[in-house]
């Protein structure tokens, strides 16, 4: 069974941070490229409606679905109506309650927050590198979604097991605000934000700024503060609300 020790879970979340930071820095090497996000501008034959970004995310998830990615609780897709897994995936017992993981999913908000981040993350303008831009978008989105949903599921289960009586009352009352307050640890959030800032600074310390675009650590810190952390907690609330069913 996966460890439900809160320190071990926090460790996994910390490890996932590097992947997110690397992928954001990779995306920032290309300009904002608004055309890659414009409906009907994909350049794809037979695709009059979707943007290149939407098509890439959909095709990636169709492939990933066939490889069994979304059999894993913390891997939630951004699209619906994906093909079934073609692969027999054997998973260790997660230790999670048998909830509907799709109700925990924050993918729609993650996507919105990420797209809103791009104008700050990337240099303005169009460098024609649409394919590379949306490829990196998809990798960044998947890394962010994995982090948010891993936290939402495993942190919530761990906290519930540490305090089943306290949480059960709030769950029975369906008191979202009180659940959110009970699972919030401001000192942990501050430590995460400090660590993210330090990691972005150090990851870029040796980079030749003439060759590679540097990103502002505050951009990533704000994305964590306004996006990753509150969406993780919103997911925790959704998990807990199903916990006693």
């Amino acid at each position: 069974m996966a460890s439900l020790d809160l320190a071990a879970i926090a460790g996994t979340l910390e490890g996932l941070e590097e992947t997110i930071l690397y992928k954001l820095i990779d995306r920032a090497q290309f300009r904002r490229n608004p055309r890659a996000y414009a409906p009907g501008e994909s350049g794809f034959t037979g695709e009059a409606e979707a943007s290149l970004f939407e098509l890439r995310l959909l095709q990636q998830e169709r492939m990933d679905a066939e490889f069994g990615r979304f059999e894993v609780p913390e891997e939630r897709p951004f699209n619906r109506d994906l093909p079934p897994s073609r692969r027999a995936v054997v998973l260790p017992d997660s230790g999670l309650a048998a909830v509907d993981f799709e109700r925990v999913s924050r993918c729609a908000e993650i996507r919105g927050r990420y797209l809103a981040l791009l104008p700050t993350l990337c240099a303005e303008g169009d460098d024609g590198q649409y394919g590379s831009s949306v490829e990196h978008d998809v990798y960044a989105l998947q890394a962010i979604a994995r982090r948010v949903h891993y936290g939402a599921l495993y942190v919530a289960e761990s906290k519930f097991r540490d305090d089943p009586v306290g949480y059960s009352g709030l769950i029975a009352a369906r008191d979202r605000d009180a659940l959110l307050e009970r699972l919030t640890r401001p000192e942990v959030e501050t430590a995460i934000l400090d660590r993210v800032r330090q990691k972005v600074e150090l990851a870029q310390q040796t980079v030749n700024a003439a060759l590679r675009r540097l990103i502002d650590p505050s951009t990533v810190v704000e994305f964590y503060r306004e996006g990753v952390i509150p969406l993780t907690k919103a997911g925790e609330v959704e998990y807990l609300l199903q916990r006693l069913s």
Copy 2:
């Protein structure tokens, strides 16, 4: 037109280094997982022959081909018989001669070198994370191939333009050894290896080693010394041999 200034090309190659290093570090977070590379062990229904690694690389490249990736000179595929691009890709004039880019491709050797690197890069054993392992393999392979072929094409063209008379005689004589010697710059190779070592060290400086596997900088330096650099030069020779046709 893309710049054929050798300093600008070297700058692009240096920028691609970070992407390779990040992706190797990401792959090293999973164990070696030999089963993911074993023929017939993919767990895929209807796939009795291929390994999970082979299937992932093929499916990724089929998708990428439809998105037009391989229309770009330095993006060479590892598989053959891929579908045509479904997307109208407008490329800037590369400045390259109209050669057969597939004859420049070193993909087969890159793949072999990369698979031989895994036992050193990853911890031994099986953690069951086959899907994640091969996903990261594919990203690492694509980053390495982009670096090798970008160098092979643009460095060779730039060197040819700086010394067309000197190169043309060797090309006409089809003297591979003399071409290799003429395009070799030992002091540049030493600088690349030193920089790679430093980047791996610094990229890992802030990583919590209890949570994330660290890789030995020497492993990556050797991979550059024995793989990336000689394969780039072999690709340069293949480009030059076609340069006058």
